[in-house]
C-alpha cells in the first residue's frame, strides 16, 4: 500500500491524543488524586490538540473534502463512519471535560464526563483500528494484531506524554513511569509479535487468483506456475499508484530499527531515568511520535493488497 502521509500522521497524532485522553481520564477518576487539576486541564488540551490536528490531516486524504460531512451517514455498517461519529462526539465531550478541569470542578459531573471521555477515546481507537482490520483484501491488516497494536501504541505514546505532565506537576511521578513502562513493553512485544506473525507463508498466490485450480492451465496438467505476461497498460494507473508500492527487505529492516529505536528505545531511556526536565520530556515525546510515524508508515508500506496478484506478484 502506498503510505498516505496524511493518514499516517492522522493515526499517530490522533492515536497519541486519544491514548493520552483515556489515561488522563482514568487517572483523574482514580480514588487518590494523582494529578492536580491544572495538569489535568493541560493534558486534556494537549490531547484534544493532537486529536484535532490528526482529524484535520485525515481530511487532506479526501479527494473531495466537500462531501466529508456525509461520512456520518453509514454508522450501522462502516467503521470509518463510526469513527467519524464517535470522534465528533469525543470532541464535544472533551471540550466539556476541558472546561470542567479548567474550572477545577470537583464533583460527580466531572467524574461522569471523564468516564465518558475515556470510553469514547477507546471507542474511536477501536473504530480507527477496525477500518484497517476489516479489510479482507489486505492480509497484513486483516488480523487481530492490527487493533491490538494500534490500541497499545496509542496508549504508549499517550503514557509518555502523561509521564511528562506528571514529572512537571505531580508530587510523585513514579506510578506514571511504571504505567508508561508497562504499556511500552507490552506495545513493543505486540509489535514484534505482529512482524513475526506476518512472516508466515500463508498468502494468496497468482495461481489462486486466476483460477489455475479451477482449470485455467495448460491441457493435461493439474498444477502449473502462472506468470504475468502483460499487465494491459504501459504506464501507471490508479491501481498501481495506490497498491503498487514496494519496500525492499533491507529497507524494511532499516525502518523497523528506526521505528523501535525512536519509538521505544529513546523514550524508554527517559521513562526509566529517575527524573527529567521539561526539555527532555519534549524530546522523549517527539522521538516517540517520530518512531510511531515510522511504524505507521511501515504498516502501509509492508501491506500487500490482493490486487497485486493480478499485477503479477507471485503471492500476497
Amino acid at each position: 500500500m502506498k503510505p498516505s502521509l496524511s493518514i499516517v500522521f492522522f493515526t499517530v497524532s490522533s492515536g497519541a491524543g486519544l491514548g493520552l485522553l483515556a489515561l488522563i481520564a482514568l487517572v483523574d477518576v482514580w480514588p487518590s488524586r494523582l494529578l492536580p487539576s491544572p495538569a489535568v486541564a493541560r493534558g486534556i488540551g494537549l490531547a484534544l490538540g493532537l486529536i484535532v490536528a490528526g482529524l484535520a490531516s485525515s481530511a487532506l486524504h479526501l479527494a473531495r473534502p466537500s462531501n466529508a460531512w456525509r461520512a456520518f451517514a453509514r454508522f450501522r455498517s462502516s467503521w470509518l463512519s463510526r469513527e467519524a461519529v464517535f470522534a465528533a462526539a469525543l470532541i464535544v465531550v472533551g471540550l466539556i471535560y476541558l472546561a470542567l478541569a479548567i474550572a477545577a470542578v470537583e464533583d460527580a459531573l466531572r467524574v461522569s464526563v471523564a468516564v465518558i471521555a475515556c470510553a469514547l477515546s477507546w471507542t474511536v481507537l477501536v473504530c480507527t483500528a477496525m477500518i484497517y482490520a476489516s479489510l479482507k483484501a489486505i492480509r497484513q491488516w486483516h488480523t487481530h494484531w492490527t487493533p491490538l497494536n494500534y490500541l497499545l501504541l496509542a496508549h504508549w505514546s499517550g503514557s509518555v506524554l502523561l509521564l511528562g505532565l506528571a514529572r512537571l506537576f505531580a508530587s510523585d511521578a513514579a506510578p506514571f513511569a511504571w504505567l508508561a513502562g508497562g504499556i511500552g513493553l507490552t506495545a513493543l512485544l505486540a509489535k514484534i509479535g505482529y512482524w513475526w506473525a506476518m512472516n508466515d507463508a500463508s498468502g494468496l498466490t497468482l495461481e489462486r487468483a486466476i483460477g489455475v485450480r479451477e482449470g485455467v492451465r495448460p491441457p493435461g496438467m493439474t498444477v502449473a506456475q502462472a506468470r504475468l505476461l502483460d499487465v494491459g497498460h504501459s504506464h501507471r494507473t490508479f491501481l498501481t499508484d495506490e497498491f503498487g508500492f514496494s519496500l525492499a527487505r533491507r529497507h524494511a529492516t532499516l525502518w523497523r530499527v528506526v521505528a523501535i529505536a525512536l519509538g521505544f528505545g529513546l523514550p524508554a531511556m527517559w521513562v526509566v531515568a529517575p527524573a527529567g526536565n521539561g526539555g527532555l520530556m519534549f524530546a522523549a515525546g517527539l522521538f516517540c511520535i517520530m518512531g510511531l510515524l515510522a511504524e505507521r508508515w511501515l504498516f502501509f508500506a509492508e501491506a500487500r493488497h490482493t490486487v497485486r496478484l493480478y499485477h503479477g506478484d507471485a503471492k500476497t
Partner: protein, 246 residues
C-alpha cells in the same frame, strides 16, 4: 428502474442477480471490451467523465472500468496464454459497500453495485476493500468510479432488445462475454456456468463475487493421422461428387 441508476427495485418478488460470464477459452485479449466500456460509459449520466491524464504525453493514464491482463500458465512448450478481462464482480456480499462511510456506494436489488457520484468523498476505502481492483478514483472529480454493468443500457426500452446488454458484451468479437441473471437457473449465464465449470475469483475472501469465468476447454485429442486422411478424403469426395454428377 431509471436510467440514472436511482436504485429502485426492478421487481417485487422475483430476485435478480445480474452479472457477466467471461469465457477464457475464446477470449483473445483484444481489449475491445475495455475500450467499448470506456466509450459507452465515459461522460454517462451515471458516472460522469472517465478522465484521462496526459493523454498525449509521456505517461498516459486514465480511469477504466474494465482492464484486460495477460498471463502465461506453465512452461514452454506446455504453456498456455490466458487473456484475463476483469471488471466489477458485483459481489453478493460487497465489502466496498459495507466500508463506504457516506452511502455513496450501494447495491441495487438487481445486484448491481454503483457509486452515487454526488455523495462520494473520495476516501479510497472502497478501493482498498476490493481485492479485484474494480474501483478507480477519478482525480479530476475526486470521486470513485466503477463498472455499472451499463445500467443505462440494459433496461432502456428505447433500444432494440438485443442491444439491452453491457457495451463490453456487445463489443466482444469472439463472443467470450455473456450478460444475464444468475438467479435464473435457465438463463444463458447460469447454463454456461453449469456446463463449463464456471468459477468466481477468490471465493475464500468471502465476498461472493457474481461474475463467472469459464476455464479453457480441454482440447479434443486428435484421432490420428489415418483418421485425418480419411476425413480429408471424404470431405473432398463430398465436395467433388455434386460436380461430377453434374
Amino acid at each position: 428502474m431509471t436510467p440514472d441508476g436511482s436504485g429502485k427495485p426492478l421487481c417485487g418478488v422475483i430476485t435478480v442477480k445480474l452479472g457477466l460470464v467471461i469465457d477464457l477459452d475464446t477470449c483473445v485479449g483484444c481489449h475491445a471490451c475495455a475500450v467499448a466500456c470506456k466509450e459507452w460509459n465515459d461522460g454517462s449520466p451515471v458516472s460522469g467523465p472517465l478522465s484521462d491524464y496526459q493523454p498525449f504525453g509521456a505517461e498516459p493514464s486514465g480511469v477504466w472500468f474494465n482492464r484486460v491482463r495477460h498471463y502465461e500458465v506453465g512452461d514452454y512448450p506446455a504453456s498456455k496464454t490466458i487473456n484475463f478481462p476483469m471488471s466489477c464482480m458485483h459481489c453478493a456480499d460487497a465489502d466496498c459497500v459495507t466500508v463506504c462511510p457516506t452511502g455513496a456506494s450501494y447495491k441495487r436489488e438487481d445486484g448491481i453495485v454503483l457509486v452515487d457520484q454526488d455523495k462520494c468523498m473520495g476516501c479510497n476505502l472502497c478501493a482498498w476493500a476490493c481485492p479485484y481492483g474494480a474501483r478507480e478514483l477519478d482525480r479530476s472529480s475526486g470521486t470513485m468510479k466503477k463498472c455499472t454493468l451499463c445500467v443505462d443500457r440494459i433496461n432502456d426500452e428505447r433500444l432494440p432488445e438485443e442491444e439491452r446488454q453491457p457495451a463490453c458484451v456487445l463489443a466482444c468479437p469472439t463472443h467470450a462475454r455473456f450478460f444475464g441473471d444468475f438467479d435464473d437457473p435457465d438463463s444463458q449465464v447460469s447454463r454456461l456456468t453449469a456446463e463449463r465449470g464456471g468459477f468466481g475469483l477468490l471465493p475464500e475472501l468471502g465476498f461472493a463475487p457474481v461474475n463467472r469465468y469459464l476455464p479453457p476447454r480441454e482440447p479434443k485429442p486428435l484421432t490420428g493421422l489415418e483418421d485425418a486422411r480419411s476425413l480429408l478424403e471424404r470431405g473432398l469426395a463430398s465436395l467433388a461428387s455434386p460436380l461430377i454428377r453434374r
